[in-house]
Symmetry: C2
Subunit: 496 residues, 2 copies
Amino acid sequence: MTAYSELSAHFGRVAALSNAIGILQWDNDAMMPRGASATRSESMALLHVMRHDMTTDPRIGEWLSDAEGDNGLGAWERANVREIRRVFAVETALPADLVAAASRAVSACEMTWRQARADSDFASLLPLLSEVLKIQREIGVAKGERLGLSPYDALLNDYEPGGRSAKIDVLFDDLAAFLPGFLEEALEAQARRPQSAAPEGPFAIEKQRALGVRMMATLGYDFERGRLDVSAHPFCGGADNDVRITTRYDEADFASSLMGVLHETGHALYEQGRPAAYMDQPVGHARGMSLHESQSLLIEMQACRSREFIRYAAPVMREAFGGEGPAWDADALWRQYTRVRPGFIRVDADEVTYPAHVILRYRLEKALIADEMPLSELPSAWNESMQALLGVTPPSDRLGCLQDVHWPSGGWGYFPTYTLGAMTAAQIFDAACRAEPDLLPAIGRGDFGPLVGWLRTNIHSQGSLYQTDELLTRATGRPLDPAVFKAHLRRRYTGE
Amino acid sequence: MTAYSELSAHFGRVAALSNAIGILQWDNDAMMPRGASATRSESMALLHVMRHDMTTDPRIGEWLSDAEGDNGLGAWERANVREIRRVFAVETALPADLVAAASRAVSACEMTWRQARADSDFASLLPLLSEVLKIQREIGVAKGERLGLSPYDALLNDYEPGGRSAKIDVLFDDLAAFLPGFLEEALEAQARRPQSAAPEGPFAIEKQRALGVRMMATLGYDFERGRLDVSAHPFCGGADNDVRITTRYDEADFASSLMGVLHETGHALYEQGRPAAYMDQPVGHARGMSLHESQSLLIEMQACRSREFIRYAAPVMREAFGGEGPAWDADALWRQYTRVRPGFIRVDADEVTYPAHVILRYRLEKALIADEMPLSELPSAWNESMQALLGVTPPSDRLGCLQDVHWPSGGWGYFPTYTLGAMTAAQIFDAACRAEPDLLPAIGRGDFGPLVGWLRTNIHSQGSLYQTDELLTRATGRPLDPAVFKAHLRRRYTGE
């Protein structure tokens, strides 16, 4: 066997283990009974240590050195070697006991978070969240020393390879300067439009589920390789060829679940569309979380909140719930689904205010990882930032700093990818529409073929063959340019 | 650390891995989309090999030698060392590639079996089932050489430690001689009783599920440490502190699902009642599959098909489905739930004909493992045995040799434990009723406290502290005595 084929076989086994972990994590979040928490936590810690052992196997270093000198490799193989080198560098920076401690701390903290959120009780979460933060900081320091990055950038780099906070600071400061004024304009434009009420419920959960499933099928989601379930915090997870999404249902508002399903379906289409020949290899993985989020936001925000889609979807929705009256008109629904209103909850936020939620979290987690702020001050710092950025103050921590699972579950350095993703989504959708003039009209007929076909060719099937900037440049003609996102917002919300 | 504490820590990690495998197997059978089959198969194979590596770690041999000479150990620790010695002997008999091959063969075969059963197409299953059989035979030979057992006994020993086919042959030949005559008597006695129709459906699945959940709670099942779901073949699985059962629903017949739920709840009570202090150690495991099956059959057959239980349950059932009329009377329902009728399907069989289904499978699998019969002859051999033992011939393999998941899933040597379990159940229930005179009257009030309390004390909490015969003798005063089972059948079915 060549060094490359040894590497490839080894990372095939890593994928088999990661797929097991992925399903167990899905189960943890969507199925597991509460009393199994401690037991599951032991299993997850063991499997994470086993994966760490596999990805730090000293033979990988030897195989890599040989494979890096192998001139007979094709472009995909070379890119695979590059990705394996990156994983190996990061993983060998971490001692195994830190990996186990991280897994255990996260399992315990996530379980407590569920109750703490329900009770709006930050104090009950503080000890476990402090432990998670401490471990994440240690991980950031260890990886950062290896990669020559700050601890925060080292954590960010896991989700967004090549991502750097210095660059994000510039983009986010620009957005933070643009958005408050734009928000005011958008709210004024909105006030000038006709007002309409949202359709009135209750909307039976089974009907909501059936509508979600129908829309997933319309988008091209492959149910032979996935499922739709319920969890407290919607996500897309699972394993290779087993891409599972979750939602949560509100009987008073079917759109919140439906839009969530469309969003997660965007993630799932990316996962289901990864290159089959490299599905189990690092080069076959999705390129990074900003690209991933671009795919969910492209589907949800760019495609499915377009006038074209809502014109197609309105009669489907009416049929699903027996809806009648002016609230069910396509124009009225479109106004509902593009309504701008500053609020407390990130996942319920509209496109215009969403970046503020992310910028707030990004700035706070950067400060926490850098140890520039005590964790006990998180609730007050959160509420002050909400007031400054969006002009609202959460009445409780449930609606404030306890709303997201990311920090309890160890996802530090993840938040900025949401807004990078929103900008990327605008840019990719714009390029796709230019390349395929029938794309939006087809969506208006419930035909996602042109859009998803273009995405499969230009994004999904590319895996991690290129770095993010190069992938984006190949697909859209240029690296990330926030002007496209701003132009999209202006067009949709102020009619410019 | 002492050798014993090294062993204990090591097998705690084995448990963490086994718990992961247990949940993934549950997912495989209850949740997984079809297209994930090959991917899952790789994950399961990897985890099985990892577990095999852990349970064959050469350090175990050293720790065992030291621990076996440690006079400071208590009874539980000594029994734990004995159980670890047993596991170590069996596991070190198998090469790792055989473990991986077995896992892969089973995953592929089980998936194909689902379709083959639906299509009643034995030919499509034959190649994969041949592979599974070949590997099981190799496993039996390897373990048998180590333990000084025949290949079949070596396989049986995994499910029923200490179980031997020579002993089972005697018990089963005796039963096979008793049952045909007794079946005739039972059918005659049945013909003399008043006839009544079964309640008429359809019975909505949601209502069936709610009734199942209510009965599980009545029995003392802990929903904080388990779940109820749906699968093609009902089972009890999952992990420590996460004991999940499944059922399947028939809208025309709520009793088939309900009785299945009661049965699996019997298994689950055993699992949930294992000793907490040794939950993750070999000595804390259930004693063997005949004891396990005794707990499910004790709940389903002994307790929940008693007149006392049906008197309590009849109004609950009427309330669940809005049932009215003579078919819903307690006596009529009891006659339905104790009706004897030779049929094709094992899991639908009554108490009287069930042993024939098991004896048939036991004899066939013994012949197949001993290579005394080609697998291609299974359908005809099956049908001939059905005719000989029960006087019926399955019209299709779906109703014949394709009905059970056991062989496709690698469970060879398992079947006899069902009927050993039925005999054990009768003996344990008889002893419990003598020890607790209020036990049956309490069941008539929907109070399972006396029964389950007695089982927890005498069976569940004992884990694998004793060998099967000793556990049974301590609980009931004697080793397995088929006379108690026969007396139970006579009392219930011929009124003697």
